[in-house]
Symmetry: C2
Subunit: 351 residues, 2 copies
């Protein structure tokens, strides 16, 4: 469900699509203040039980420790198997609260209520939940589909503008891997999007959600086609983790897309021009496009090799052929195996 003013419908929709004895609403400290208390009050006003559980905001809190603390807080509050979790917030909240729901008493239902652009158009769709560990991002987790995703575009009015740009990195990714005309639409709407124009943002959310849902429906467990959504993420995750999360996920993915486009061109997978087009789109939203100086190629390579996409010891990348096209390869795979030298070269060329 994508729309404006939908948040006030949440109590009714919860009762219809996810009936529960008690709703455990999980938010970070910032979103709890902006929307959490209001949601709790409205759910209670509708005659249902609800409790608010919070954790400090920031990707660096998406850990097993925070997951354990939230789990213990739910247990302490007496939430039982007939409880349900409501993830109210950005991508970190959705991943973390989703993993709490996936593992609480061996799994309770949950609902996604994304309040960041990145969560609305990407993270909340598709059932991936999990936390980061020292070895890398999202290496611990579970597939656990939400009962529904309720996206109230009005909540973007309070989103810091830097987070709008971070969300647009994922929107650009969707366009690059699946739909060239979407990239044109994004560029045409860019001035409105940068100013947080809500109708323009709603168009972006709708289009990205449609792409992501189609890809996920074709391959829920990421054994094939869903891998195309990893474009920019193999190097992006390494950059994000090595930066100590001083870069947001969207910023790291932006740099990752530049480096992986460069890789695609150098391997001959993509025709020349892909990287230039990706860079231009990212610059429209003032997203970073160069690997930060302080991160060494060797450290990034080590992190890339610790990624989930490693199979049989080799790193596999989802590489587009051109804007809007990342087709299945001749060998049936959706990804390309790449050795360490080519990765190091692409990193060096993206500085």
């Amino acid at each position: 469900m994508v729309g404006r003013g939908l948040l006030r419908e949440l109590p009714r929709i919860l009762g219809e699509l996810c009936p529960a004895h008690t709703y455990a609403v999980i938010s970070d400290s910032r979103v709890a203040e902006l929307y959490g208390l209001r949601v709790i009050e409205e759910v209670r006003a509708a005659g249902r039980r609800a409790e608010l559980f919070t954790f400090p905001c920031g990707e660096w809190n998406k850990t097993r420790d925070t997951w354990a603390e939230l789990t213990d807080a739910l247990l302490h509050a007496g939430i039982g198997r007939d409880g349900a979790v409501v993830a109210l917030g950005g991508g970190v909240t959705g991943d973390l609260a989703g993993f709490v729901a996936a593992t609480f008493l061996r799994g309770v239902p949950f609902v996604q209520v994304p309040t960041s652009l990145l969560a609305m158009l990407d993270a909340a769709i598709g059932g991936k939940t999990g936390v980061d560990v020292a070895a890398g991002k999202n290496l611990v987790g579970a597939f656990h589909l939400p009962r529904f995703v309720l996206t109230d575009v009005d909540t973007l009015a309070t989103l810091p503008k830097a987070h709008i740009a971070a969300g647009m990195a994922e929107a650009i990714k969707h366009a690059v891997v699946a739909d060239a005309s979407y990239l044109e639409a994004i560029l045409a709407d860019a001035p409105l999007i940068r100013e947080r124009d809500l109708p323009a943002l709603e168009r972006v959310v709708m289009r990205s959600v449609t792409i992501k849902e189609e890809v996920v429906a074709a391959d829920p467990r990421e054994s094939g086609r869903r891998q195309v959504l990893n474009f920019g993420h193999t190097i992006g995750h390494a950059i994000e983790a090595r930066s100590g999360y001083s870069l947001t996920h969207g910023e790291a993915v932006a740099i990752g897309m530049v480096a992986e486009s460069t890789l695609a061109e150098s391997l001959g997978v993509a025709a020349p021009g892909l990287t230039a087009a990706v860079r231009a789109a990212l610059k429209t939203f003032a997203l970073p496009i160069a690997v930060p100086e302080e991160l060494s190629d060797a450290d990034l390579l080590e992190s890339v090799q610790a990624d989930k996409k490693v199979r049989a010891g080799k790193v596999r990348f989802a590489l587009p052929e051109s804007i809007g096209s990342l087709p299945q390869r001749a060998d049936g795979a959706w990804t390309v195996e790449v050795g360490p030298e080519a990765i190091l070269q692409a990193l060096a060329a993206s500085r």
Copy 2:
């Protein structure tokens, strides 16, 4: 697969039913010495990669911390999405290694190779994985079905005799909730079983596995019939946790069955005589049948109320009507809601 000498077939069966780039064999310190090193060698001799990961034996190590350490060790060893986990050991190992597999890179395949009687006839069947937390047993976990369960009854030759009795507590539970003739067979075979006679133990494993598989197949997610297998476990888990795991799971379940049979009689769910029959069967294997003096009724009640089986704040118990019979209730439920006074009375009467 249940049989004798099956362990040496493991490398071949792994290759056929659970192909993987690397097998992460997880065992506790004791089983690692007895069987782990041998399994690793045999899998490698068959031309496949395998690594052994161990943790200190004991139910008190079935924690989120041990799970996190094992997960990090697998990541450090470079196990990827094309890896698979082999749980080699008793019930603790199966639950813990299963939860590692369920959450490692959002889920990798796993295989159960139970080496304790309790794991063979109960814990390894049905896909429940998880760890204990301060608030209670198995409160964090996931459903994650093994690709196969390979049960080599010969490994029981090295099982301490006290663990044979602990396994028999679950076998008696299966008989009480599903098959009166099975209880007769157990009592007839008791002298052989106590002496670890392998053919007699194989008969027990086969019969229990058949019962458990049938119940689980009818209700994999425990929304109905599978709840009958919780007989003895609601109070049993509380006793086990409150004893600081000085009682084994089987011993605690034995006492739990006595207390819950008493509860069934006092509520009029069961005819008089059920508790006496349960006690007699447990005594045949020198299992404890009285709530330990050092555990107070109030503390046990608090733990019972923290259990997963609590719904809408009320505790629900799976209570047999008679030996071999735990049918669906007139209201369609498989469990009975019980208030705190009746629970306290049953505890007091079981000392």
